[in-house]
Amino acid sequence: MNDVTCPDVEALAAELALGSVSGPERATALSHLSRCASCRRLVDELSAAADPLLLLTPEAEPSIGFESRVLAAALGAADGGPAGTDRPAPGLSRTLPRRSRSRLARAAVAAAVVAVAAFAGLLAGLSLERAPDGVRTALAVSANGRATCRAFAYGEQQAWVFVSLEAPREWTADYRVEVTTEGGGTAAALGTLRLEDGGGTLGATVDVPASRLRAIRVFDPSGALRYEAPFG
């Protein structure tokens, strides 16, 4: 099936969309899709129709402690969580031997350490470049040191931006947040961050690669620029 044609791929499109084709047949079809917009559109449409089928199964509550076990496995090691909470997944380890929880845990620790180091460096005025794995960080601290604005961004085509603001509990207000891009492009609005009880967060996407983001800008209700956090 080296000279696969559009009719060949169209006949297989539903199974491709459902992920039930494997091996050489799948490789050949994907090769065709990479250069045929029409077949690619058909598979995309069928994939979009198939995706919601995954919503149909009944929900099931996990056992008590599931959330903390996942957190411990992904993040907990970084903040010194008790080792006993990181329950290994014996059944899965047995059936899916490719996985390595210790490697995941080490990756989590490494990522967290680098992120913390990045923030510490910014606070100290060091010139830090981007964090690994394409994650960019930004930080601004108010002149009196009582408020801190942090931001993360990543994404090669569409950037995800996550902004958090920490301030004294009595500072309750809505802050408008925007992001500026390299090259003096128009600032993109991210939305409104509600600051209450000492903190607030905002997450949004912008149609700009994270590598092109320049800074986060936060405006108070009067429209005054309160924080400008440049991405490292």
Partner: protein, 191 residues
């Protein structure tokens, strides 16, 4: 933390924000566990699969593309693939697709718990209605492929039908589902 979007929570989870991570897991855990349990039919193994699915989401969050689907379906696709792998490694030739009986239950209202967002509940209702428009054979073939990762050959063996018939049921069922879920497509004159 106030109700944040799935995208924002996933972004926070990916960069190690503990509040965002906890909120993300809490929001999706019952759906992820439900799908895993329906496929592997083993509560303990399902939880292992679910845990691994969240870890994969954490590790691969930067690869998520919002333009290709929602965070929920992306996470459930990860879950489905892990669960199918787990079943295949445990039972090389699974015969009884228990997930189908789970879906019979779903047809009576499961799959849209009170905790689900209104948007998800509406989507579930829409898909259930669209599935009702398929023949029994199309519906079974489609669900076996979508939820259990069965190939046309495996479906033909489970259902006792020729491979060609299984392929036809999958294809005609999914095409009909697409046209029902997205009626504007035909109005737009696409192919």
């Amino acid at each position: 933390m106030r109700a944040a979007s799935d995208d924002a929570l996933l972004a926070g989870f990916a960069v190690g924000d503990p509040d965002a991570a906890a909120a993300f897991i809490r929001r999706h855990q019952s759906r992820v566990c439900g799908l895993a349990r329906a496929i592997v039919c083993d509560t303990a193994l399902a939880e292992d699969v679910a845990q691994e699915a969240f870890l994969r989401a954490w590790r691969h969050a930067p690869a998520y593309d919002a333009r290709k689907g929602t965070v929920t379906t992306w996470l459930l696709t990860i879950t489905r693939n892990l669960a199918v792998d787990a079943v295949r490694m445990r039972r090389p030739q699974p015969v009884d697709p228990d997930v189908l009986s789970a879906l019979d239950v779903a047809a009576d209202g499961a799959g849209s718990s009170p905790a689900a967002t209104a948007e998800t509940q509406a989507e579930v209702a829409r898909v259930r209605l669209a599935l009702a428009g398929l023949s029994e054979g199309q519906r079974r073939a489609l669900l076996l492929a979508a939820l259990c990762g069965r190939t046309a050959k495996e479906i033909s063996e489970v259902e006792g039908i020729p491979v060609g018939t299984a392929k036809t049921r999958i294809r005609s069922g999914l095409l009909k589902l697409r046209d029902t879920l997205n009626p504007q497509r035909e109005d737009e004159g696409s192919e």
